[in-house]
């Protein structure tokens, strides 16, 4: 099976802090990878390396569809087809909904002239379909400041899906969501699988992760503690092993 994304020997240090240490990681075609790990394990740092926001330490390599990518930047990553729902949501509160949807990837021609009408109409379409906004008080011009946590997450997810990404990364997307909003979010992840695309799904709650993923990778204090295919392990076995990881930093894998 070929991979959309491969990381080899990726480390990242912030001053004294080693956030990641020699991480080898991949995402297969049409594979949903669950990334588990405690707070501070380095999950978000890994995400930000994949999206070109952080550069890995020298020696780390990143491959997109088996081709080496040098000096990845955020615009380059988005051009490749990587979209992220960031843990911090990455919205601009005082800007309109349409400016948030198209943030950093505005619809424009080669000279940079914006197609404002198209961005507005696309936003209106997405509001009625993907975001499911029903209130007439919300328009494409509404600023996102007043949106609820679930609505904000809806905007971030819709934005990630809009560009037909090949790889969608969701970093703790269910944080602060209600039960029904969480279910909608998990349906989004299942939708990615059905659409033939790949995803990395990060969540503290293994009950959220387990049902929707194909493979689980456990990150512990900056290193990959272990990984396994979901069909190798029942949910109860997984929970037992995560306790072991928490104590020893290692996960017994069947391979």
């Amino acid at each position: 099976m070929s991979n959309v994304l491969t990381l080899k020997n990726v480390s990242k240090t912030f001053g004294e802090v080693a956030a990641l240490h020699n991480v080898n990681f991949h995402v297969g075609d049409n594979e949903i990878v669950g990334l588990l790990g405690d707070n501070g394990a380095g999950k978000s740092t890994l995400v930000k390396i994949i999206t070109g926001y952080h550069q890995p330490n020298p020696g780390g390599e990143l491959f997109w569809k088996n081709e080496r990518v040098e000096r990845l930047t955020v615009p380059k990553a988005r051009d490749l087809g990587i979209e992220v729902v960031f843990q911090e949501r990455a919205l601009a509160d005082k800007q309109s909904l349409w400016r948030n949807i198209f943030m950093g990837r505005e619809l424009s021609d080669r000279l940079g002239l914006l197609d404002v009408a198209k961005m507005r109409s696309e936003t209106r379409r997405l509001m009625n379909t993907a975001m499911g906004f029903t209130s007439s008080a919300v328009t494409a011009e509404s600023t996102v400041k007043t949106f609820s946590g679930g609505e904000r997450q809806g905007v971030a997810i819709t934005r990630a899906l809009y560009f037909q990404a090949e790889l969608v990364i969701l970093d703790e997307p269910t944080m602060g969501l209600s039960l029904s909003e969480t279910r909608k979010c998990l349906e989004f992840v299942e939708g990615i699988k059905k659409a033939g695309k790949a995803a990395i799904f990060i969540d503290h709650n293994i009950f959220h992760v387990y049902p929707v993923v194909d493979r689980i990778v456990v990150l512990d204090r900056g290193t990959i503690a272990g990984q396994f295919m979901k069909n190798e392990l029942s949910l109860q076995e997984l929970i037992d092993r995560l306790y072991v990881v928490a104590q020893t930093g290692h996960l017994e894998s069947k391979n």
Partner: protein
Amino acid sequence: MSSAHEAPLSRRAERSPFFRWARTYPLQIGIVMVAVVIWVLFLIGSPRTFLSGDIYVSFMTTTPYFALIAIPLTLVVITGEIDLSFPSVMAFGMTAFDVIFTWTGSYWLGFLACLVAGLLAGYLNGVLVVRVGVPSLVATIGTQFLWRGVVMVITNGQGLGMTALEPTGLHAVLVGKLAGFFPMQFVWTILVALVMWFFLNRHRFGAHVYLTGDNIESARLMGVNVGLTKTLTFAVAGLLSAFAGFVVSVGLLFFWPTMGDGYLLNTLASVFLGGTSVFGGTGTIFGTVVASFIIGAINAGIVAAGLTSFWTQLIYGLIIVLSVSIQTLLAKRLT
């Protein structure tokens, strides 16, 4: 019973086109209302003056001197930064003109040198803020003194008579009269405002200006080149400061090395009165232009009322303090 029948009046009002329009452009509507109120006050206070065309020609002559800077400064403030160096950059550009004009005898080359000097001075502000990481408030106070010093050293404090430029085409194009009535500096101000409006609202650069000032971290995560965006706004502010300096000098036919200091207050007052947020992320060119003319009118009002120019300072200072206070209170209420 259908829910439309039960909807309270306010709900139905929200759907009306007028309400939508008012919600979309609250700043613009607000500033126009302020302008109308002040205009009516002046009409009542001094109907003779304010019913004649002369006073409006006078506004159109002198307001551009700082409106030309307030417009690009609006972009700098929207990105969440500030530029306080422009008074000196005005004089620095003219010093470049002075040197090149004296050396080559060509006022066109001198004009070009003036613009290039302004662009470079603005770019330096951008480098200090973006690359070095100095807060713009401090960086641009620093460059304000730096360029003033450079101007004083090069000119030795001597002014430059510009009467040689009076019969030239450059004079006619910059400060002549259009159709025998509209001062050309007013036409330039409108042109600059339209171009800046276009870039701010219809170009990717402008979209990034808003995003950078609203939430710089979100903008970075989503791939906006926030450093380039800020550097460009500083460079454009520098360029237009030098241009304004040239327009002032050719308009008055003299260049004073101290030029610019008198424009600090009214330029800043125009930006903040125009509704551009000190916190970044919001602001409009329209607001700044209307506010510039309000500031210009207030100046004329102070003179007409026979008050000394000390009053001008007091009132501009008051306008700045009030505008930013109101903005801060509104921002608190909304979060």
